[in-house]
Amino acid sequence: MARGTSRTIKATMSQGAVLFAFNNDRVDYVSQAQWSAPRINRHLGLPVTLITDKMPDDIGMFDRVIIRESRSGGTRKYDHMNADSSANWYNRGRCSAYDVTPYDQTLLLDTDYIVSSNNLRSLFDTDQDLLCHRYVLDVTDRRNFARDTRFGAVEFPMWWATVVYFRRSRAAESVFAMMQMIETHWYHYSRLYKFDQDLYRNDYAISIALNTVYGHVPDSVPSIPWPLFTAFYDVYLNQLDQDRFQLNYVRMIENQQRHQRMILEDCDLHVMNKPDLGKICGSRI
């Protein structure tokens, strides 16, 4: 009886994805979101809500568009091959996701996350209030992320805010409320966890919030049980087919640079090379 009731409640819960996209001089995040939304519909069967600061011309792919003020978290470099690629990163305000989402169960995605499978669908069937990735996997197996499982001088464990699943619950609400507090008092937390205060990072904020909400025991924080598949900044990306991508990169083999190619099919991917992703998405910048 109890199981049946729980199933009924689940069935009536609304589900959807939320994308935050605030363009700057270098990256057209809105184009990324417009390109991503139909993929999310197709693979995950989820409607997509866009949170942005200006109504885009084409919004047909979105369930809803919510206009919010963009706020800069600092300046960052966007193209690691180009020294002159810095721009404001409007990444603050992500903590409002809990309040603005129109869904009971939400998948909060970065726009540079390419959905090419239905893997994330399984998160909606878990009995967890909030999940994100604890570990990252370099798809080229060059181990570029050895440092990215930690942050700050005292090596605090890092969870990634790239993919966050949450459902309406006290725990999820607390995590986002805590993120809000961390964002507001960024300087204080940068001193406590000994990281550079110049750039606001949602990854750091959610990591600190998760540790706090889950009882100050990092080991007890539930996470997505597979790593975040990621292509580093120096991986060049082409789309071969709808869900088929070619990755070109250089690997050092016996002290020699060797050009390598990888075909990735039906596999989600977090893309750090924004210029290449922009080309695929039809960026207007």
Binding site: V154, P157, H216, P218
Partner: protein, 277 residues
């Protein structure tokens, strides 16, 4: 020494000019008492200590072997002869526990001697820091810590502590057999490691890094300098019976190392115990 209790925790503490180790021992004993009210605790000391948190206070059975020493470590072998327990867990004085540790008995009870191996950082994670273990690595010695040592009355334990005694007493000769240790003073961790190596490491350890403790030496915890203690760099909170360091709940015993903390810990656990009565 006659067996008075089957199982118990033993702390050795001799004050030096600079450090009140007996205060450290009281803090540890109070944390033990908070988490395990019925446990037995014995203090080995040359001080006149009356605190009722200890079930027994015993002198060193063979007297102070190092009356002018700074560390008094060379008395350590006497714990075997001083313990009133059939099974003993010896804990270093400058530690506190953050939860019951009586499940450790089940780990240990099939062994005669268990010396703890490896240590953890403030994130409760097994540490690979070797900054303080150069002499061990140079000499291929096992990575042992006397901070947590178990033994039962047995021939194995008698042999182990006989090795410890001999190695302490002959340290000036022994260290000449080691690499890069010509001027190294004797220390209990190294003596235990050598004793283990003499007897066979597997005879006096468990296969995994159990038992374990959080070691708060700065480099273990990613701090850049030993010049400043961790208490100057990290925020710490005492939440009921637990210590939280830089917002991380400590789930293993903490070897806090900075002895200045002992008074605060002693007082904190004293208040907790008083609130229970």
């Amino acid at each position: 020494m006659a067996v008075e209790f089957e199982r118990g925790y033993l702390i050795i503490a001799q004050n030096t000019r600079e450090i009140d180790y007996v205060s450290c021992a009281r803090a540890l004993a109070r944390s033990l008492r908070w988490w395990m009210p019925d446990c037995r605790i014995c203090l080995i000391t040359d001080a006149d200590e009356q605190d009722p948190v200890f079930d027994r206070v015993r002198p060193l059975p063979y007297g102070d072997q190092d009356p002018d020493g700074q560390w008094k470590l060379s008395n350590d072998w006497q714990v075997f002869h001083a313990s009133p327990f059939r099974e003993t867990i010896k804990l270093e004085a400058d530690m506190i526990i953050n939860g019951p540790i009586d499940h450790w008995w089940a780990w240990f009870e099939h062994r005669d001697v268990v010396v703890s191996r490896g240590m953890r950082d403030y994130l409760n994670e097994v540490s690979d820091c070797r900054a303080y273990r150069r002499h061990w690595d140079d000499n291929d010695l096992p990575d042992l810590y006397n901070a947590v040592t178990y033994w039962r009355l047995s021939a194995t334990a008698a042999e182990f502590f006989q090795w410890v005694k001999q190695l302490f007493e002959n340290w000036s000769t022994v260290r000449r057999t080691l690499k890069y240790c010509d001027s190294l003073p004797a220390n209990t961790d190294m003596i235990y490691a050598m004793a283990a190596k003499c007897m066979g490491v597997e005879r006096v350890t468990l296969p995994d890094p159990w038992p374990s403790m959080i070691h708060m030496k700065p480099a273990v915890n990613y701090l850049k300098t030993d010049a400043r203690p961790w208490t100057d760099e990290f925020v710490y909170e005492l939440v009921e019976g637990r210590l939280r360091i830089n917002t991380v709940e400590q789930t293993w015993p903490v070897h806090y190392h900075d002895k200045r903390l002992s008074r605060e810990l002693e007082e904190h656990y004293g208040q907790l115990l008083a609130s229970r009565h």
